[in-house]
């Protein structure tokens, strides 16, 4: 029997980071299935350790980013997904996946709205790891870089105090080093109370190798020729492997 943990990546119409995200998952050791959402059924989660929502523009994101995808997911596997999390399953949302997660009530309340610049922003950003114990960030250094590419990545909460609370509670696992898009408290990524649900706007799958960095002389991080994004997937893989024992 396959002893590698299984990841299930949901592909909505308009999801477009599925191939490289699957490649990243495979690189750290996951068996990965990319599943078009038309074929999604509750049974598909059986035997799966990790559900991934990758980047893209699900259904075009014309209504509000991630809105329709969250409704489709809710309708197809809503309850199953919550059971999956309660029973030890992991959920990762990257960029559009993070936007979808925020609307599925699986993360602390908050909305990802249009960047303060009013623009799509494709650039590299500095990040601070505020949750070194998170299963998603345990092998990441205190500060690292990743690329972002989004128009709606500004995390807002109803009251500014809520966002400040996320920083105190540790829900704000990842924050930008600079004010990139107007996010409250510079929040770039959120985790839930279990620590097994994590969403972030930056794209770790785009920085798997040192050579992916914009500076050809970037010196690398940790062992091997890996980029910072690799360590997010690797952390997760380790956490799931250890959880299995």
């Amino acid at each position: 029997m396959e002893d590698r943990p299984c990841a299930l990546l949901l592909k909505f119409p308009g999801t477009n980071c599925d191939a490289e995200t699957a490649r990243a998952l495979e690189a750290v050791g996951f068996v990965t299935e990319v599943l078009p959402v038309s074929a999604l059924k509750p049974e598909k989660l059986v035997g799966v350790s990790l559900v991934v929502l990758s980047g893209g523009f699900s259904y075009g994101d014309y209504v509000m980013s991630g809105r329709i995808a969250s409704l489709v997911t809710e309708q197809k596997i809503g309850e199953t997904l919550k059971d999956f999390r309660d029973n030890g399953g992991y959920l990762l949302g990257i960029c559009n996946g993070f936007q979808i997660l925020t609307q599925l009530d699986l993360l602390p309340a908050g909305s990802l709205v249009e960047n303060a610049s009013g623009r799509f922003q494709c650039q590299w950003v500095k990040l601070k790891n505020l949750a070194p114990k998170s299963p998603f960030l345990s092998q990441c250094p205190a500060e690292f870089e990743l690329p972002i590419a989004h128009a709606e990545g500004r995390l807002v909460t109803k009251e500014a105090a809520e966002a400040a609370g996320y920083v105190k509670s540790g829900a704000a696992a990842l924050v930008y080093g600079d004010d990139v898009n107007g996010s409250f408290e510079r929040i770039a990524g959120l985790q839930d109370e279990s620590g097994r649900v994590f969403g972030l706007m930056p794209h770790p799958e785009r920085f798997m190798k040192a050579r992916d960095h914009y500076d050809p002389d970037w010196e690398g991080q940790g062992e091997g020729d890996w980029g910072s994004g690799y360590w997010i997937f690797k952390s997760l893989y380790q956490a799931i492997k250890e959880g299995e024992v």
Binding site: G14, A19, S38, G56, R211, Y214, D215, P216
Partner: protein, 812 residues
């Protein structure tokens, strides 16, 4: 009842029974009436074309249907048939007469064929498919295609550019049995962003700023949603583009070599996949083959379609999955001409039947010709084996795209179209592709000569001035709106270097499943072409090739594309400029062994303003792809180490013509530098040897703004200041200081090497123009350029970078 021969076309059409199609009696019309009919139906066919059609029908002893006339108009349109590139041109250069029998055959196809013969197995497909393919490795091939979408973008910038990119992406999906799009390029020509309104001499023309913003957002919203990184591009600003902005969109793809060949056979089913068919985009192909005026802005809104990238994304996911399962026998996109072009291309030899009743419509009530030529977006047409249909239907359901069976191939050689039980079109496909050869006249008279360079009293100020020019300022605000890293393969990004925001020449993509990479580059120099189109053509090929080689591509494995835009081909001087441009690109491409594998042209980019017609200058975009053997060869354009030495490869001419400096300093008709192709080629081969040996830390091409701008741009990585001395610069004896600093002679590269490697690199360039220029330094953060004992430039790099970074940002 009046005499039918005197009826005007409107009456003639009204006379035919009103139904979903009409038979139009044309046999008794004279040339004038035929031309009126063509204009009335917006067929964009000339009197000669209409007479030819009349003759064909006389031979068949029947009258055409409106569907047939529309099909012929689409097929013979300049957009689909490139009739000017196939024309016989009586050309005169400086009083000497010559005859060009087809620019395409003489200067594009034949030149490329000779290169194919020199490099067997490298070019796997050229000219006949949607895009040309070159070999990447034993398993995979890559392709590139670029299209223009000028007229739609002039009228509706957002939608025009949106569908421009959407269309070229479909070209790639329809290349071979379906290539995977992996990267896009976008090149624009606009009026200057600071154009004042009183400078625009026609009504209903969108201000250049509105055009720019709309076009950029159109490209952004299609490319980003499709998940294809936009990695390469260029923008030119010139007054002549106010009325006719140019929008070039290109996409590269990758395909297994075994899936390049496609063939349709009798018995196969023809299916459509993707979006539905509506009244949007009627007459796009014929519309784009005519000039614009204020009226066309009002009338032809329906020729511009609205894009829906998610529809296309679903179709793309379906196509690539179906190809991987071996279910596709033939595929092409629905572009200009809609089903008529797609089915026509597919069935031209085999023949077959298309049933329009099967077509899924956006709205009811479309008549036959509307269904058949509608250019509604996001549709692909495939030929498949009947037994594959059930599995294809399942895949279409899985990816949530609509699949429709349209008809079948039957081996009859006849394209037959039925609708509501009637045969609305029955054409011998071979006749569709026999448009009359056009006869045109061209003339070119030399415009340039030696002009004294101005005496440079303050070269530093001249340099600062250049860094505010729209030709040079950073494209960062636009580049950041494009996702250039989706797919996770963009190794050399459009902005890179230690600071992440310094300009690069070519971009380089990793290719999943291969150790090799692909570089993409673009060049256009319309300013040169205004006075010396031959030099422009030559230099564009040179610059594109140089970018690719600089980034690490193997100079022996490059292929290029030619995309032409011009004003009025019936104006002799304008067509003459085109002929000279074509000669220029052909000459240099042949020396470099860089074959043309695909090309496209756009005519009638002129506008009837209140003060007469304004044409764009003949504009050539050369875009190219190159194979990079391994990742270690990838070379950026930004200074990397503070202990480095800098050197220049290539000869500096004293000619300032075509340069940004010349334009800003009012030098008119100054000689434009020639491309010394033989020498440049040797340099590129040696440069690549240096790359393979690991000697090159970085390399930047010398282009707009000349050497001084190139040096500063390299140092925009923020790693060090530069100490440069021009005393050993390889150059014309009489080159002025202005030419040394700001001249734009082609074929030059500035390279950064480690101190210990300089002698070894110099050895490689024995007998070629090469000189050490200076060094990086941590002693200061300036660009300091000396000439012997004289300090020409000593400017803080931070100041120059500040000017450069904010020049366009203020307007975008």
């Amino acid at each position: 009842m009046s005499d039918p021969a005197t009826l005007n076309p409107l009456e003639r059409i009204a006379e035919a029974p009103a139904d979903h199609y009409r038979v139009l009696k044309i046999s008794d019309l004279d040339g004038e009436r035929l031309l009126e009919l063509s204009k009335f139906m917006k067929l964009s066919l000339s009197r000669e074309d209409m007479l030819a059609i009349q003759a064909i029908y006389a031979e068949w002893d029947r009258e055409p249907t409106d569907v047939e006339l529309e099909v012929i108009a689409q097929t013979w349109s300049e957009h689909c048939k490139h009739r000017i590139f196939g024309a016989t041109i009586e050309h005169e250069v400086d009083g000497k007469a010559e005859t060009v029998n087809s620019l395409f055959k003489t200067y594009i196809r034949d030149v490329s064929q000779r290169i194919f013969d020199r490099k067997p197995g490298f070019v796997l497909s050229a000219f006949h498919d949607n895009a040309g393919f070159i070999q990447l490795d034993d398993e995979l091939a890559v392709c590139l295609k670029a299209e223009t979408h000028n007229h739609p973008s002039a009228i509706e910038p957002y939608a025009g550019a949106n569908t421009g990119l959407g269309g070229v992406i479909r070209d790639i999906l329809g290349a071979g049995k379906g290539a995977k799009p992996i990267g896009s390029l976008d090149v624009f020509c606009f009026g200057a962003p600071d154009t004042t309104m009183d400078h625009i001499k026609a009504d209903d023309v969108i201000h250049p700023l509105g055009v720019m913003r709309g076009v950029v957002r159109g490209v952004r919203d299609y490319g980003n949603r499709m998940g294809i990184p936009t990695i390469s591009g260029a923008i030119q600003f010139d007054d002549s583009y106010i009325y006719n902005p140019l929008v070039f969109c290109g996409t590269a793809g990758v395909i297994p070599i075994k899936d390049i060949e496609k063939k349709i056979e009798a018995g196969m089913k023809v299916i459509a996949v993707g979006g539905r068919t509506g009244r949007d985009g009627l007459h796009g192909a014929t519309f784009s083959s005519a000039a614009l005026d204020t009226e066309s802005h009002e009338e032809d809104q329906q020729a511009v379609q609205i894009g829906n990238p998610i529809e296309e994304k679903k179709a793309a996911d379906f196509v690539l999955a179906a190809r991987d399962k071996g279910l596709i026998e033939f595929i092409t996109d629905c572009g200009a001409g809609g089903f008529s072009s797609a089915a026509g291309e597919m069935l031209e030899e085999c023949g077959g039947v298309i049933d329009l009743d099967q077509v899924k419509l956006k709205e009811p009530g479309l008549v036959s010709w509307e269904v058949f030529i509608s250019e509604s977006q996001e549709r692909m047409v495939l030929a498949v084996k009947e037994e594959s249909l059930p599995e294809l239907r399942k895949l279409a359901d899985l990816y949530e795209t609509e699949l429709t069976e349209l008809g079948s191939a039957d081996g009859s050689g006849i394209l037959k179209v039925t609708h509501h039980g009637n045969t609305v079109c029955e054409l011998d496909c071979t006749k569709l592709h026999d448009a009359p050869t056009r006869h045109l006249k061209g003339r070119w008279t030399k415009k340039t000569g030696p002009v004294d360079a101005p005496v440079l009293t303050k070269p530093g100020e001249a340099l600062r001035d250049l860094f505010t020019d729209f030709a040079i300022v950073s494209r960062e605000p636009i580049i950041r709106e494009y996702d250039h890293e989706v797919q996770g393969n963009t190794v050399l990004k459009p902005l890179a270097g230690a600071s992440g925001d310094a300009p690069q020449d070519a971009s380089v993509l990793r290719i999943s499943g291969s150790k090799r990479l692909m570089a993409m580059g673009v060049s256009l120099l319309p300013e040169w072409g205004k006075t010396d189109p031959y030099a422009m053509g030559a230099a564009c090929v040179d610059e594109c090739v140089r970018q690719l080689v600089a980034a690490g591509a193997d100079p022996g494995r490059l292929a290029i594309l030619d995309n032409f835009c011009m004003g009025n081909p019936d104006a002799e001087e304008e067509l003459g400029a085109l002929v000279e441009t074509v000669k220029g690109i052909a000459a240099v491409a042949e020396v470099y062994g860089a074959p043309f594998v695909s090309g496209k042209d756009s005519f009638y980019n002129y506008f009837e303003t209140k003060e007469g017609p304004v044409s764009i200058p003949v504009t050539i975009l050369i875009s190219g792809m190159g194979i990079v053997e391994e990742e270690s060869h990838v070379t950026g354009a930004s200074l990397r180490k503070s202990d480095s030495l800098l050197a220049i490869i290539g000869h500096t001419s004293g000619d300032l013509g075509g340069s940004v400096f010349a334009r800003r300093h009012g030098l008119e008709n100054a000689s434009v530098p020639a491309t010394r192709a033989e020498e440049a080629w040797k340099c590129y081969v040696q440069y690549h040897e240096a790359v393979k040996k690991g000697y090159i830390r970085s390399a930047h091409d010398v282009s707009e703004g000349g050497l001084a701008v190139t040096l500063a741009e390299m140092a925009f990585s923020g790693k060090a200041g530069l100490e440069i001395d021009l005393c050993s610069l390889p150059m014309d004896d009489d080159a002025s200081k202005a030419a040394m600093l700001f001249g734009e002679s082609p074929s030059r590269l500035v390279i950064e090497v480690a101190p210990e490697d300089l002698a070894k690199v110099a050895d490689l360039f024995e007998g070629l123009p090469f000189a050490a220029l200076g060094r990086a330094t941590t002693e200061h953060a300036n660009l300091r350029v000396e000439w012997g004992k004289e300090t020409l430039v000593n400017e803080p790099l931070a100041d120059l970078k500040g000017l450069w970074k904010t020049g366009l940002a203020r307007y975008y």
